[in-house]
Amino acid sequence: METAFTPFASFGGGLLIGLGAVLLMLGLGRIFGATGILSGAIFFENRDEMRWRLALIAGMILAPGLIFLITGAMPTLTVPVSPAMIVIGGVIVGLGASLGSGCTSGHGVCGLARLSIRSLVAVPTFMATAAITVFLIRHVFGG
């Protein structure tokens, strides 16, 4: 399935994602890593740590609603994979991202911006395995 090439919207959205990461560092002194924030909210160590994470997550969830209020249209998404693949992929994402200490936001945005050596290794690694996985599923197994 084709998707439209959106360089300007994607770059503009990227600027906002970066702004969110900078704001979290300014306000709370923390890295904006979705994996750490989510796992810290689910398996909380202490109440204060859980509270700010839940507030941050609530703000993220409200974003499509804000776009709806501004534009009058709910943002849409297309899920081109089966429920089984969502579950299998989700478990692997949760296991891998927590084992590797970060995902697209933590390593990909915050880590690269800090020039973290670990992130400079992690990002090409997960980009490569994602591309190989999509190639195998779509062009070798014909999924």
């Binding site: 998707t3 959205g13 906002l16 969110g20 941050l56 409200l62 478990v91 050596i117 999509v134 190639f135």
Partner: protein, 141 residues
């Protein structure tokens, strides 16, 4: 105030995720489908996000402390070990299978799609499995 600030910060980040197209698994999977329906848009997301964060972090770190107290908490590990590489490799495989990553799925939950909730429950199961592994050393990027 701290919680309101966190909520607004999440809203800014989430709005970026929606506008950028990161929220849409069809777009994410096409970014990786170099041999098929390739859509290079997401490279621009990464470019914009890293640019602002690179500059913004350096401005913020001129302060002695964050606005709401405490200190700047940065990971200081430089270990390139099997957990980092293996975990990252696994994350990429899962991302390529499902088309969602955690930071994009949380805002996507706000569209009310059941697939997103299913993905996030599966991610939580993955977190749980990780916590059952030996030597649960918590490091973040």
């Amino acid at each position: 105030m701290k919680l309101v600030f966190a909520l607004l910060t999440g809203l800014v980040f989430g709005t970026g995720i929606v506008i950028s197209g990161m929220m849409d698994p069809a777009k994410v999977l096409n970014f990786f489908d170099l041999a098929g329906t390739w859509d290079p848009s997401l490279a621009f997301v990464m470019g914009g996000a890293v640019l602002i964060t690179f500059v913004g972090y350096r401005l913020v770190w001129r302060r002695d402390a964050p606005l709401f107290g405490g200190r700047f908490q940065l990971p200081n590990s430089t270990a390139i070990d099997a957990r980092l590489v293996g975990g990252s490799a696994l994350f990429g495989i899962g991302w390529g299978i499902a088309g969602f990553c955690p930071g994009a799925a949380i805002p996507a939950l706000g569209t009310g799609r059941w697939e997103v909730a299913l993905f996030l429950i599966a991610v939580a199961v993955g977190f749980y499995l990780r916590r059952r592994l030996p030597s649960p050393q918590a490091k973040t990027a």
